[in-house]
């Protein structure tokens, strides 16, 4: 049974009717009342920008906060490959149901049916809205939109703009936001960081934010607060997230009573550029779309792998029969397009067995030579009427096609590694990329704290234990453009009599004081080690024990290590500069302090989940073939954690009910 503290508020009725009925019956707020209702949006990525502009269009008074120097820099901008939508433009059998089904299955049956179905339903509207706002998606010669394939699906439903889909979608949403800023409907607070949630009588009533330029703390009232603050992958230090991506807003909410759901569900993306040395500050993703045409392999012979690592052998000289295309071998039905968790574990398995390449032994090949020549080269040769093209001709023709499709990604790879991927196979290795876990929300996207919402990656709701590629952009925009504008009415229609509360209220004064105290404490430690020093150590503990593979002993050890590291941080960190100035070290210190608490909860969550599912792989629970072994009888629930005090959490369970999908062992074979 679900905990009484967790009311998912899923509407009654058949799956297909829930959202339609909800939209027709949800209470509305009349336009005159909207003008006196204030909404705070924290974060300006896809979820935040789309929510803020849409709510402002509806007439609400909106304030937007982001820590970057402009709303346009939010990390949604870095998403490469694409955005899913059940348009079925390719006539290949796609439908709302199929997108829903793929997402639930891809998430290894740990997501809510009703939320995911709604996501699939609004997916098509997102593409329409984005095109209308000037997003230049890739098109075919006939002028219609182009699609490509992503992992975990067998239809082509991914819309894209070269390898810059996130950038184009975000700039579309950002331009809508800036339009509202220009019209005075949105007040923008760039270079501001939210550092506390303000609660009055158990209800969320505002935030405390720090102006990052002057260091001044500010109090802001809102009838509702929307956290659109992204994921917490940077707890691992090395990830594909931006340097500033952090958990702070969500964590402050958690410490003020909002439950944190499934924190251990993190996504390790299989195709990232491998670590090159101790100086490494972040990892760079190579889009999943590359797996459309790239074949993943390692040498079949241990001695070949060893020779490559020592720089004595060039991979191009390894014969076809001496290569192990391990994904095609293990998963013939999906091949190189298996979901991310499966592909990542398979890479780790080969590298752990000694077949890894790169000097570190922690890399596999993503090779385009085959499709460049024998797929695209041949098509081009046929077009040109060349019956028996030479190998050189095939390569030349194919090179052009591959450049057109993935040019910017290949350039980026070359820039970072110094190796030309047109001539040599890319080297890739899994890296932390996305977090499925996040603040627990109900069907309305509201946390268990009234008035406090979480959208996009910051919530837990749609991706279960593993997110499919091209679904993060879809969820961010679905939540912002099409879900929150309706669901927020359910709450705000009861708030029309609430006058704006003065920020001189004791709750604001107290919240500001607690933020100031924390800042002064951090600066006052004046220890001997930098913030990065602690962040890197935390990252290593997390990666080693709560990364791609986890086990009971490791997780228990990690919890002890994190606690020790946390106390060392609070007695020995050195934060340079002052509180009342532009101070990036202070910003980092606050974020790392929160990661040092979150890390413990992630390990605790991984420890209680005695099963393997999606991105959560417990070594004790696997099949003989090394696949994840789920335990639906005992773990078919959302784990929502309530913080009693630091180091002491209570687990609440939301039982997941599958009325429309038959739960099955996930198979991509």
């Amino acid at each position: 049974m679900s905990s009484s503290k967790l009311e998912s508020k899923i509407p009654e009725g058949s799956l297909e009717q829930k959202w339609t009925k909800y939209r027709s019956t949800v209470p509305l707020v009349n336009p005159a009342n909207k003008r006196s209702l204030e909404i705070i949006v924290v974060g300006s990525g896809l979820a935040g920008s789309s929510a803020a502009s849409t709510l402002a269009e509806l007439g609400y008074k909106v304030k937007v906060f982001c820590f970057q120097d402009s709303a346009r820099r939010a990390h949604s901008i870095a998403a490469q490959g694409g955005i899913n939508a059940a348009k079925n433009y390719q006539n290949d059998g796609d439908s709302v149901y199929r997108l829903f089904y793929d997402t639930i299955k891809g998430g290894d049956y740990r997501a809510r049916e009703a939320n995911v179905y709604r996501l699939a339903e609004v997916s098509a509207n997102i593409i329409d809205q984005s095109v209308a706002s000037g997003v230049p998606f890739a098109r075919e010669y006939g002028g219609l939109l182009s699609n490509r394939s992503f992992g975990g699906t067998q239809v082509q439903r991914t819309f894209y703009a070269a390898g810059q889909t996130g950038q184009q979608l975000l700039l579309g949403a950002y331009s809508g936001l800036q339009r509202q800023v220009g019209m005075g409907a949105v007040q923008m607070y760039a270079r501001h960081e939210m550092l506390e949630v303000v609660k009055i009588d158990g209800v969320c009533r505002g935030i405390i934010a720090r102006d990052l330029v002057t260091g001044k703390l500010e109090r802001h009232f809102g009838h509702a607060v929307l956290l659109c603050t992204g994921g917490y992958g940077n707890v691992f230090f090395l990830s594909t997230n931006a340097m500033g991506s952090n958990v702070t807003a969500a964590w402050k909410a958690h410490k003020k009573g909002a439950m944190f759901a499934n924190p251990c569900f993190t996504q390790i993306h299989p195709t990232c550029i491998p670590v090159s040395g101790d100086h490494q500050s972040k990892l760079t993703l190579m889009s999943e779309s590359l797996r459309n045409d790239g074949r993943i392999w390692v040498p079949k012979k241990l001695e070949d792998a060893k020779a490559i690592r020592e720089g004595k052998l060039n991979p191009n000289n390894i014969k076809e029969e001496d290569r192990d295309y391990y994904l095609e071998r293990r998963y013939p039905a999906f091949g190189n397009l298996v979901p991310r968790d499966v592909a990542s574990r398979a890479a780790k398995e080969r590298c752990d067995a000694g077949f890894g390449v790169n000097t570190t032994g922690e890399a596999v090949y993503l090779d385009f030579a085959f499709n460049m020549k024998y797929k695209y080269g041949k098509i081009e040769a046929t077009k040109k009427g060349i019956a028996n093209p030479t190998e050189a001709q095939l390569k030349e023709f194919g090179h052009e096609v591959v450049k057109e499709k993935y040019g910017n990604l290949f350039d980026m790879y070359k820039q970072i590694t110094g190796v030309d991927p047109y001539e040599n196979p890319m080297m890739i290795y899994p890296a932390v990329h996305y977090t499925m876990g996040g603040l627990w929300v109900d069907y309305n996207l509201m946390t268990n704290v009234p008035g406090l919402y979480a959208l996009g990656e910051a919530n837990f709701s749609d991706h279960g234990a593993n997110r499919l590629g091209a679904s993060a952009l879809m969820q961010g925009l679905a939540d912002g453009y099409f879900v929150i504008p309706y669901t927020i009415g359910a709450y705000l229609s009861n708030e029309i009599r609430t006058k704006a509360i003065s920020t001189d209220h004791p709750a604001f004064v107290e919240a500001e004081k607690s933020v100031a105290d924390t800042i002064n404490k951090l600066i006052g430690i004046k220890g001997t080690k930098s913030v990065d020093y602690y962040h890197k150590r935390l990252g290593k503990i997390m990666w080693d024990n709560c990364g791609m593979a986890r086990n009971e002993a490791g997780l228990k050890k990690a919890i002890e290590e994190i606690r020790a590291l946390r106390s060392e941080f609070w007695s020995n960190v050195r934060v340079t500069g002052a509180a009342d100035e532009f101070n990036p070290e202070l910003e980092k210190a606050g974020r790392v302090a929160d990661f040092l608490e979150l890390g413990e909860l992630m390990c605790l969550d991984a420890l209680q989940r005695n099963e393997s599912c999606g991105g959560h792989f417990r070594e004790e629970y696997q099949t003989e073939e090394g696949e994840a072994k789920r335990d639906d009888e005992n773990f078919k629930y959302v784990a929502a954690w309530e913080m009693k005090e630091l180091g002491n959490w209570e687990l609440h369970k939301e039982d997941l009910v599958y009325e429309n999908i038959k739960i099955a062992q996930r198979s991509y074979k």
Binding site: S53, T54, E57, Q68, D69, S70, R72, R73, I77, A78, N125, I127, Q129, S130, V131, A132, S133, G134, P136, F137, R139, E140, Y141, G143, L144, L145, A161, A162, Q164, G166, Q167, Q168, L171, S175, Q178, R179, V181, G182, V213, T240, A242, M243, G277, H279, S281, T284, L285, N358, T359, Q415, I416, G418, F482, P485, S530, T576, E581, F582, P584, E585
Partner: protein
Amino acid sequence: MSEKLLNLTLKVWRQRNSKDKGGFETYAMKGVSTDMSFLEMFDVLNEQLINEGKDPVAFDHDCREGICGMCSMFINGRPHGPKQAVTTCQLHMRSFNDGDTITVEPWRAKPFPVIKDLVVDRSSFDRIISAGGFISVNTGNAQDANAIPISKEDADESFAAAACIGCGACVAACKNASAMLFVSAKVSQLALLPQGQPEREQRVLNMVAQMDSEGFGSCTNTGACSAECPKEISLSNIARMNRDYFGASIAGK
């Protein structure tokens, strides 16, 4: 990835805040790996400074994969350094030689005041977008995405203009601190699409007016902006914007 180690001298602009006069500080860097990015070298420098009890260098950065547009260093007299078509975060130390002296400054332009060290205020760009860099379509008003076919050529050209990351290198490169490349990229992106037509004339007039009021300089067709642009935004966008601007002005909009 054949790593080498470099010894370098860095001359870095230090300025406590917008009111401070500022000046160069010199730092010796030893054993810098050629596999490092330019910003990772700054991480190492800052770690060094923190360990010595000194104030680290403030610099803007976020995604470190060349797309957010946050990083902004003026390196040896060129925005984003010596390589074509890369941002500072994608510039790697293999582009430098052992013994080099590297000078690093903030973007220098009146509409980009320095906040601290290498960090500048680029909010003027946001205000230009707010003046007209959008299509006025409220959520829910869109028709089916395939209802308006757009020729691949136009879509591709629009996309090429839309690739602008708003970093401000064009302004920093320009001797007049003109923002014409940035503004024209947005104007072109929307002018090339059917969805952008209804507001086409008003958009260009409003965006140019805002650009002028922010204090950006005039364009004298030197082309340094495009040459230094990390996304290789084409100068032809400026020509297109000029045509649209004159057309709209003559039409008396």
